[in-house]
Symmetry: C2
Subunit: 213 residues, 2 copies
């Protein structure tokens, strides 16, 4: 058995689900949120792939080809983040184990903890950014794509929004321990903005979807 990290996309889906349920912190809610976002991006790609190359939808062919490029890029990035989040907190754990006898050691440990916390917040923040992009793409797919697959575009937006809200919780829990006030203010404002946009996009995409059922 190898000592290297488990590369979850290469493992059976059952292993990812079992490890998420297990008595260990990773993969946790951040990684699972990225996975939900990747599933949403996959559905946007599916809508495009069930639309492109069909004479009936020739009028939107160029837009659909461009859209699937963007949804596949978002999916690839979320697949990476699904993995990155499983190790994002390692730096914090390592830092907490540093010696803290002398004032110098205490200062070095405190700085390492803070650096680790910023990485642990940056990963779910990036998940939020890419997942709201999935919502944007899902809304376009619901409007332009093959109407027989419109529920898949709707579900793409639902999962994109779920990924945003889930990952935002993990940003927030880390912000609570970060002392760099400028970072905290900037990150909190950014997630609020993304949460608002994602909620609106979910509602708009569901409206488009329901109108086509």
């Amino acid at each position: 058995m190898s000592d290297g990290p488990t590369i979850y996309c290469a493992e059976p889906l059952q292993v990812y689900l079992d490890d998420a349920a297990a008595n260990k912190p990773a993969p946790g809610g951040g990684s699972v949120s990225a996975c939900a976002g990747a599933l949403g991006a996959a559905l946007v790609s599916m809508v495009c792939n069930l639309t492109r190359g069909r004479e009936k939808f020739a009028g939107v062919e160029q837009q659909i080809v461009s859209l699937v490029g963007e949804s596949e890029a978002a999916r690839g990035r979320l697949e990476q983040l699904l993995q990155e989040d499983t190790t994002a907190y390692n730096g914090v754990i390592t830092a907490y184990k540093m010696p803290k006898e002398t004032a110098e050691e205490q200062a070095a440990r405190s700085q390492a903890v803070q650096d680790g916390l910023i990485i642990a917040a940056d990963v779910p923040l990036e998940i939020c950014r890419v997942a709201v992009e999935v919502c944007r793409l899902a809304k376009v797919a619901a409007g332009l794509g093959n109407p027989q697959a419109v529920t898949d575009a709707g579900i793409g937006a639902i999962l994109g929004e779920a990924a945003v809200v889930g990952a935002a919780l993990n940003v927030r829990i880390n912000l609570g321990s970060i002392k760099d006030e400028a970072y905290v203010t900037r990150a909190a404002a950014e997630i609020d903005e993304i949460l608002t946009e994602a909620a609106a996009l979910r509602a708009e995409t569901l409206e488009i979807t329901l109108a086509k059922l």
Copy 2:
């Protein structure tokens, strides 16, 4: 290469994501919704597994042991439904290919299409039922579980609700073609009730989670 159906939980996560994105109808939004629900159930189990057997949480040990039994049962059922949904529409497709020359053939074909549509609606309806149960369990986990894992309970509720809303879209699209009015009325009323409960549980669980950050 085998001609049997792909058993997605046994395949690499990457295969499930790639097949969801591909130019074929399955796995589509229904299966992916079940997967999101299973991921949410896994997080509820993780919260329980990070709580049970710890002296600090001895007061809730019995409730947590019972809760993880329920979340693992819900996860197992959603893992089955993730698979079942990939073939749920096959009966409809097969029925549409039946001969329709004579009046007798037309009647038999029409009956087979209707029977197939009811199966295709029943699978996502069952996903809705199990996914709202994930939301109920996530709310309990957020209240009783290890507060260090509270965001995972919150994300469990978010994914449970996303699975409900996603699968409900696939119930609705099939109801549109089902002629059995009693079935349509009953199923539509049930998904409305489940959607309302899931939305409330997501909001309540997020409130509990944010209060503990």
